[in-house]
Structures are given as structure tokens and as C-alpha cells.
Symmetry: C2
Subunit: 178 residues, 2 copies
Amino acid sequence: MFGEFSEQELEKISNCFKPKTVLKNSILLSEGSICKEFYFINKGCIRTYFIDKNGHEKTRYVMLDKHIGTALTSFVAQRPSIEIVEAIGDTELLVINHSDFFSLNKEMDSWKNFYQRILEMAYSFQNRKIEQLVTLTAKQRYENVLKENPILIQCLSNRVLASYLDIREETLSRLKSK
Amino acid sequence: MFGEFSEQELEKISNCFKPKTVLKNSILLSEGSICKEFYFINKGCIRTYFIDKNGHEKTRYVMLDKHIGTALTSFVAQRPSIEIVEAIGDTELLVINHSDFFSLNKEMDSWKNFYQRILEMAYSFQNRKIEQLVTLTAKQRYENVLKENPILIQCLSNRVLASYLDIREETLSRLKSK
DNA sequence: CAAAACCTTTGACATAGATCAAAATCGTTC
DNA sequence: GAACGATTTTGATCTATGTCAAAGGTTTTG
């Protein structure tokens, strides 16, 4: 899906991924912990978010079926995470831990390419997010998700969707009734 | 600085970098063009920015002496760029073009690591930027730059600094007089 | 299935920062 | 160095969105 691997390589890679099932609302990574895991979502939904000075949640990234991700900044730097990782619904995951991830990255050229692509895409995604935050109004951001990624609106509660759009839930409620 | 290279590798790498001097206010990449170049700033200052629907500039990234960068999204995907790259002052650059960059990335393991580190840092930088945009007030963002990166305040005009902070120049002017 | 806990909606009000306009400064050029 | 253009400051408004509070809804739980 993200890279091209030989049979042998796939064998080695799949040995590194361990299945894991988590229930709705489970915390996979709490604030201040160091992120040791990278996830492939087989089925379900998880998100990363952080909490601002006023105690409000800000959702950065939502992963649905067949997506990958983690609290990347903490995972890469092995520093305490600002971001929290949480299961939104019951979720089946495949997990690779930090040391296996970077062992593969040392040994396997095709994994390096894979990781590069992950980083490139993560970067582009963040970049689009910044563009939208600084150029679009709350309403435009909502309409943009409605158009580009409507599945999110089905999967997320209004509370979480609002935090993803960086607006208050009251504002989202008002936007929708128009 | 960013990676570890052997003498041989350094030789090869430096053959790919060409010196280039540009004058203040030169456009290195215009909107809609495909970014073909990656820059090392020897001396001077360049920025990347884009223009929102109201015609206002939004500065994403400022590179000073010994920094590296480019309009990364366009450079990576080889798609027309939303971002503009502009010299803020007269600037001496070293330039590597897209095909040399990715040739090195194919051939040279240490360059792969180097590129990974660039991407990791670029990602973290964007992430911090998002955190600050969504959690800090205009004043806090100004004070943050004042504290963390005061050299920017010397190098940039108020107009550009304001666009970097994502506030209007009038607001910045008012913030400063307090 | 009742009650507790949580989520969403609605209303009234507050405010940070934008907008528009006009002076005041500064820098560049002929 | 006068004059033009660009940048910065100041002032008077406007507005999108936040805040606070309360009322309905829904879901979870013993």
C-alpha cells in the first residue's frame, strides 16, 4: 500500500506487527508519556489530540480503517508527548514498537522509502491544515470536511468534530443548522 | 551538520550544489510553478509564503544563515506550488535541484538518513506551529517569537513578521506599543 | 427502567482581532 | 534633497467566534 516490499521483507515486517484490540475511549498514549508504538488501524477509529491552556481538546489527526499513524513528534524524538492518542470506537490495531520500527529503518532499504513517504505525507497534511486554519472561516472549514472527508462527520461526535475543526461545539451546532 | 557523510560522499554531494546569488525581493519560486530547487542559505534570508483569498500574505517559514529548506510540498510531489519563495534580503545560496536531490536519495544511504531528518524536523516545526496557532493569542504568539527567536524580529519588516504570526500589521503595531 | 452522566442545542452577551481610513515615518530614486 | 512610494502607526468601527448558562436529548449503568 505504501511501499514495495519483497516476500522476504514482508515476512520480516509482519513479524514486527502485533495485533491489539482496544475498547472505545481507551487511551493509547497519555500526555507526558513517550510514544513507543506506531499503529496500523485494521478496523475502528483513533485520534490524536492535545489539551490547550483553557482545558479544551484540539484534535490533530483522525485515523480510520486501513490508515496508519501515531503521535509522530514524540515517536520520532522519543520525548514526552503533548499529544494524547485515544480510541474513538472499539478498534483492532496492528502495532509496531519503536525499536522494531527503527531497526527495520536501519536494515531495510525499502522500509526507509516507506518511512520517507509517511513523513512526506504527514508533512503535506499538516501543511494543508495550517493553510486552512489561517485562510478559512469556521464555516468554510466545516464545509470543506463535508465535501472532502464526509466520513469524518459520520464517525465523530460533534464535540470531537468541533475540536478537529478548531471551533467550539456551540459554534458547530449553529453552523450545522443553516 | 544534519548527517554524517564520508569524504567521498561529501565530494559527490558538493558537486550537486551550485552557488547562486539573489537580490532582495527576488522571487525564487512563483505561485503555480513546480519547485525544482532545494536551498542551503549561506548568507541572507528567504521566506516561503502564500496568499489567501483576501489577498493577504501568510508567511510559513523563514530561513536565515546556514538554514535549509524550500517549498517542500511542491518539491516532493512535483506539483504546482501554492507557496511562493522569496528573498527577503540579498542572499547567497547553495542550490541542489530536484533530480540530483533524489538521485542522491536513491544511491546514498546516508543521504536517505539526512532527508529523513529534514522531514522529521519539518514535520515537528509544522506541528508546533499548529499548536501555537490554535492555543495562543496574537499577543502570546508575538511574545513567543520575541523569546524563542528574537533574531526574526530584527530581520523581518513588521509587515512580514505580522504575516508570519498570522495577524494584521495594524494589530502587530498595537501589540508592540504595550 | 430509573437515574446519572454525557452530549447537543439555544440564547444573551463579551471580546479579540479584522477592517477601513487617514496621518505620520521612512527609504529610494532621480 | 525633493518627491514619490512603501511602511508603520493611530483611531473608529465591525464581526466572527468565544464564553457562560440553562434546557433538552441520548446513552450508559447499576
